[in-house]
Amino acid sequence: MTQNAAPALEAFVARAAGQGAALAETGLPTRRVEAWRYTPLRSIADTAWQKAMPLPTEAATALLDRLVLPETGARVVYGNGQLLDALSALPEAVRQASENVSPLKGVFSATLNTALGERGLDIRVPAGTDAGLLTLVSLSDGQDISTHLQHRIVLEDGASLTLYDVSAGEGRYIANPRFDIVVGKGATLRHVKVQRESLTATHLAVVSADVAEKGEYDSFTLNQGSSLARHEAVVTLGAPHAMAHVNGVQIVDGQRLNDLTSMIHHAAPDGSSRQTVKTVLSDAGQGVFQGKILVDRVAQKTDGYQMNQALLLSEKAQINSKPELEIYADDVKCSHGATVGALDDEQLFYLRSRGIAEADARDMLVRAFLIDALDLVSDEGLRDLLLRSMTS
């Protein structure tokens, strides 16, 4: 870790939480820190960030109206880091808990969250219960403010939950949510995330998920907003036959940078993991994908697959991709693939020759490119919602 002068940010941490030490220890990572080589945090270093003021219900409602949200299921809304009671209700089957988020070492976004954490969702789905759909909306509105919600979600054995997790807002802010997820034996958590923050915001999310025997963490992330966004997932398959899906789509335009970083840790035998990440880049957009699969010596019979593809639609767009395999077990089947390129001229020509306008033809091809990843969202309703959200 490299020390770096980030006086404003560090002073803010020290003032707000009296825990500046945690951040001062690691410092704000520079590009010389391997995990951040493609994602510079300079833009947040010099702002005198403030704790956010509570968000009035009317302001929250106005923001909610602009979002594409599920019409069924339960909904919980946070505004500037505070629960908005008037707009929130938990699913009936879910129990409120009071547990602390477990620490996550060596991940900057988690360190920042620990220093400034605000209590978020803290729920437990009882054994054998299907809690249905829960929509979690995190709204931010303000200038130079930051929120650091800490969510803890525990699925007991055989439980299931679908979490539709939306972040959005107005203004210039840091949204730094942390999800601490425990998936019990045979339990399933479907986590669909939509990141549509303000285009001047910084989004630094980190999800850690521990999956027990035959449990499943099935996630999909749409990264489409923010000036700079990283969604980081750390999934540990700690017992036999555990399973993880860490899929995603990134749509980046303007001068923005979106980053999807993941670490899938196979720590027990017979686990499987699947990852498909697609990035579409236009204007001077920058895309980052860093995906690591780590297979411990004990994790024999691991089946790991990872695919990441990027489509560059403009001269100034750029992609940085680092798919990584670290394997210590011999009886495994692990593979990854990566492609980078532009739209296929021949495909374009084919569509044009059938009388389809150039712009429409391009749209069709981009959509076709993304559909592989979108199709991995098993819930049809949510898939439609994602498509609508992408084009809204």
Partner: protein, 493 residues
């Protein structure tokens, strides 16, 4: 179970004799005192009778090195290296001007004979049986950093090719050396390259003039022979417009207990329509079964395709060394130039390899291909680490990368760390990687046809590496296949 006992005995026997090229030759050496400081650099330069500009160049590198830190990003572990606890200069004592073989120390010739280096013309010609059309191979034999005998210089000179120890080139062709040395790998490029620039003692220099196809394959055999001598080779190859050359580098080293540091630098320059093929078989002492001893191999190899349509191709078979840290790279600066990297890296026992390539596409229509095969056995760790970068001007550039890892045994590791960076929408990059173990079905098939387990593994591994081995010049391909088998001995059963 007599069969099992027999297998075990065979394996044990093999493990004991596994490094068949481990021997030491007793020759009088001229050794500099241990330690590294400006005086050491001056001494090396003085002993080699170098001009002032060369000394200045070395000192610049040395001062840069002092400011640099040893890199730690590679997936390797070793005790700290004490750079002061090594000799930086060792030279076989020789009478002035051993221009013919008769004058060469007979002990040295015996060493070459043991290595099977065909130094004589007849041996060279007989080297490849049945290949009538094949041209002979020129050997610039490097014995502990100093080229002692060079053959075929005359034939090469007639073609206008310069192939000589780099220390001779510094004296005889200073204008060429000055023009190109350090242009591909700058003195302060990285920690080990800076160290090499400061203290390199010898290496090869090749210059192929415009339009010349080098009449024979050039070959340098490297040996590390004296105790506690670091090996710092420096190789510079220049192919002018439309020139073509194939260069072979092969290594074997005697068995010893102490770790030895090796930090070589190879620079290639290809001008318009030129082509350089650089092949390596690296089989330095890997340490014993417990991981004691072995060579630390920190190498910087880089080529630049300066001219349009030029081509640089790296092929390597890495079976030796305790630690391999090596990333032969291509900078594709000429329009339509081509870079290739074919690699087999085998690690066994406690070996560690972190190797790969960089393909930097600067110009339009450039193409690169990367095929990397990694085989890990025993307690070893092997990493492919590579970078493909498409710069904004790399219109219609292409890259294809394939990395396959094979694991033999459950105590080893195989890792893949590719970096893909693209700044041009018309550039296309494709990367694929797989990791698996030797297929039980294939093993069973071979065993059912009466092959021993070792032979079966050897056969499968050779098949796994075929795409790379076929890129090697014929003389090397045979040696490489044998090496793969020897390297993996004791890894099954």
């Amino acid at each position: 179970m007599p069969a099992v006992t027999e297998t075990r005995e065979t394996v044990e026997k093999l493990a004991k004799s596994s490094y068949e090229w481990g021997f030491e030759t007793d020759i009088e050496m001229d050794i500099a005192p241990k330690g590294l400081n400006e005086e050491t650099v001056r001494l090396i330069s003085e002993r080699k009778g170098e001009p002032q500009w060369m000394l200045d160049w070395r000192l610049k590198a040395f001062r840069a090195w002092l400011e640099m830190e040893e890199p730690t990003w590679a997936h390797i572990h070793h005790p700290p290296i004490d750079y002061q606890d090594a000799h930086y200069f060792a030279q076989p004592k020789k009478k002035p001007g051993p221009k013919s073989l008769d004058e060469v120390d007979p002990e040295l010739l015996k060493t070459y004979a043991k290595l099977g280096i065909p130094l004589h013309e007849q041996a060279l010609l007989a080297g490849v049986e049945g290949a009538e059309e094949r041209l002979p191979v020129a050997v610039d034999a490097v014995f502990d950093s100093v080229s002692v005998a060079t053959t075929f210089r005359k034939t090469l000179a007639e073609a206008g090719v310069i192939f000589c120890p780099i220390s001779d080139a510094i004296r005889e062709h200073p204008e060429l050396v000055q023009k190109y040395l350090g242009t591909v790998v700058p003195v302060a490029d990285n920690f080990f390259a800076a160290l090499n620039s400061a203290v390199f003692t010898d290496g090869s220099f090749v210059y192929i003039p415009e339009g010349v196809r080098c009449p024979m394959e050039l070959s340098t055999y490297f040996r590390i022979n004296a105790r506690n001598t670091g090996q710092f080779e420096r190789t510079l190859i220049i192919a002018e417009d439309r020139a073509t050359v194939s260069y072979l580098e092969g290594c074997t080293a005697p068995q010893r207990d102490e770790n030895q540091l090796h930090a070589a630098v190879v620079e290639l320059v290809a001008m318009e329509d030129a082509s350089i093929k650089y092949s390596t078989v690296q089989n330095w002492y890997p340490g014993d079964d417990e991981g004691r001893g072995g060579i630390y191999n920190f190498v910087t190899k880089r080529g630049i395709c300066r001219g349009a349509r030029s081509k640089i191709s790296w092929t390597q078979v890495e079976t030796g060394s305790a630690i391999t840290w090596k990333y032969p790279s291509c900078v594709l600066a000429g329009e339509g130039s081509v870079g290739e990297f074919y690699s087999v890296a085998v690690t066994n026992n406690h070996q560690q390899a972190d190797t790969g390539t960089k393909m930097i596409h600067l110009a339009p229509n450039t193409r690169s291909t990367i095929i990397a095969k990694t085989i890990s056995a025993g307690h070893s760790d092997s990493t492919y680490r590579g970078l493909v970068r498409m710069q904004p001007k790399a219109r219609n550039a292409r890259n294809f990368t394939q990395c396959d890892s094979l694991l033999i045994g459950d105590q080893c590791g195989a890792h893949t760390v590719p970096y893909i960076e693209s700044r041009n929408m018309t550039a296309r990059v494709e990367h694929e990687a797989t990791t698996s173990k030797i297929s039980e079905d294939q093993l069973f098939y071979c065993r059912s046809r009466g092959l021993s387990e070792e032979d079966a593994v050897g056969l499968i591994v050779n098949g796994f590496c075929r795409e790379v081995l076929k890129e090697l010049p014929m003389e090397f391909a045979v040696e490489a296949q044998k090496l793969l088998q020897i390297s993996l001995e004791g890894s099954v059963g």
